[in-house]
Symmetry: C2
Amino acid sequence: MLIAAFLTTPHDDGTTHVADIDRSPRLPGRQRGTESRYGNRPTMKDVAARAGVGLKTVSRVVNGEPGVTADTERRVQEAIESLGFRRNDSARVLRKGRTASVGLVLEDLADPFYGPLSRAVEEVARAHGALLINGSSAEDPEREQELALALCARRVDGLIVIPAGNDHRYLEPEIKAGIATVFVDRPPGLIDADAVLSDSRGGARAGVAQLITHGHRRIGFIGDQPRIHTAVERLRGYRAAMEDAELPVHPSWISLGSTAPERVRGAVADMLDGPEPVTALFAGNNRIMVTVVRALAGRERPIALVGFDDIELADLLGITVIAQDAALLGRTAAERLFRRLDGFDDAPAHTTLATRLIARGSGEIPPQ
Amino acid sequence: MLIAAFLTTPHDDGTTHVADIDRSPRLPGRQRGTESRYGNRPTMKDVAARAGVGLKTVSRVVNGEPGVTADTERRVQEAIESLGFRRNDSARVLRKGRTASVGLVLEDLADPFYGPLSRAVEEVARAHGALLINGSSAEDPEREQELALALCARRVDGLIVIPAGNDHRYLEPEIKAGIATVFVDRPPGLIDADAVLSDSRGGARAGVAQLITHGHRRIGFIGDQPRIHTAVERLRGYRAAMEDAELPVHPSWISLGSTAPERVRGAVADMLDGPEPVTALFAGNNRIMVTVVRALAGRERPIALVGFDDIELADLLGITVIAQDAALLGRTAAERLFRRLDGFDDAPAHTTLATRLIARGSGEIPPQ
């Protein structure tokens, strides 16, 4: 069982691992095989089939790498010419002397979670000789759309999106026009596209299970707004852990809403001082956790706490967390994007990265 | 005296204030008055002079704001036409239906100090209907140049730069071509341009004075690399505070270098366990402070510490800091940039924002 594995074998080397790669469900109306993902442009696969060679050989020829005989290279070149294959927009742009570029649509420039994610994307882009340009939606779906389309209009070659909204059909024409697009942290809505996500549900389940293991029966969940995918997934993880232990959940123990400190402080007070007081809290993300830690610091009796996301100095404060690897999320998404730009045209996939429980004391406080 | 004022009247409302606005020194070879800063385009001032009205009136006409009589508006419009004045690239671009944009060259996407700064710049850009696009130099002067020029090539209307390098002559053609440029956090090198800075020297001086006030005579300074302007300024502040108190400084008490945890941990160990041990430490920036806090947490006797930059959860850890207002830095720089884009053509200025000492306990620990 996955949760047990987390609890008994934490990854002490600080890495997380790809837990699961599954195909995203096909959307109605999209027929795989009858149309290429990026319009009807011939792909490297088509070139490989026409030339009677492997994909790697085509890649070598296209990228000018060694290890291909003159005869094979000639056959590949002929196939490229007869099919009208062009490697990708990025390469085309590079030949024209303009820097290739990748756009990153963030949710909030000031959220420290996105710092390492952005930097990892930038490092991969840099390794591919591309420029990274960022912007943020400030958690506003309209701004997300405006920014993503503005980046497309500025001829980015690819787009990595941390979505604020739940409807990304506005990106379909761009994707068809050849702009590779990968979603990260949260999945796309109503379109079929690559995504790299953390295992929010499994992580929250493991965190709540940790509190239950240490004797808690009345546990509060304070999460982000219910229209945010990760907020709902983490709540599902909470419910699953409570169900696993056959514990009832009182409605007053669940509070979803903004991450504004006043809102979170109110939720903490309601849960601890209300008619059905909890003995432990689960904080649904790093912004919420910071406020909960501050609220609990002012209380006389210690309250158990597990938070989603590791934050700087949480180690010194002894906060037990479910850690995501933000840099690995960014790196995985960027590598997926450059694979698309290199002409790989397999079906969009959703990749889920495992989270990691780091026990530091606050999640191991027994109930009073 | 400025330092005394900080110590006796901390700004409890959480704001910092513009301490000082001074003209940056003129560079040789630039003659003010004989050429306009942004090439030879007519400015709003020229329009105002020609129409015989004030600058504000021209601004109202250009921006379609009320409060101008029909006769005055006609005179201003005539002046605009006869001079061939165009408001600015941003407005021109907006008329053409393309979104105006501002580029922000950051030092490090993952440094939490730049999160609120970036967000503040984005909010100002947003209020002006402009898109913000970011990238980072990763503290590499070549990358800074490459990124800044790539953003210019993508026709940003203005540029805000947190410089990694010390020679910005490469930007002079861009500035002449009309790309408004403002430096923030660190000043430009070898060119004359707007800059918005924190009072690094004054802040460090106040922080070290705080340690001296609490009885310390042997104080270590761990700072960033000496080619970084703020690192040198903060070291100057340290030296000034020691001189103010007529205290000698042993060479082993000063360590400048990278912010890599190993380097910083080594510096802490050398200063505390060497032949001339210190009783207190001053950390030159937030990255260094985090490592120093971790290193001190593992020690038996408490060591006094003041750090430059406030960081999240420093309040709960009782860390005394010199706080900069990163959001105010960003906002001030962005507002300066949009003033330039609105056609204001006064001489470049360096604005210095005050820092604020926040005493939380670690800086008030007496010597052992």
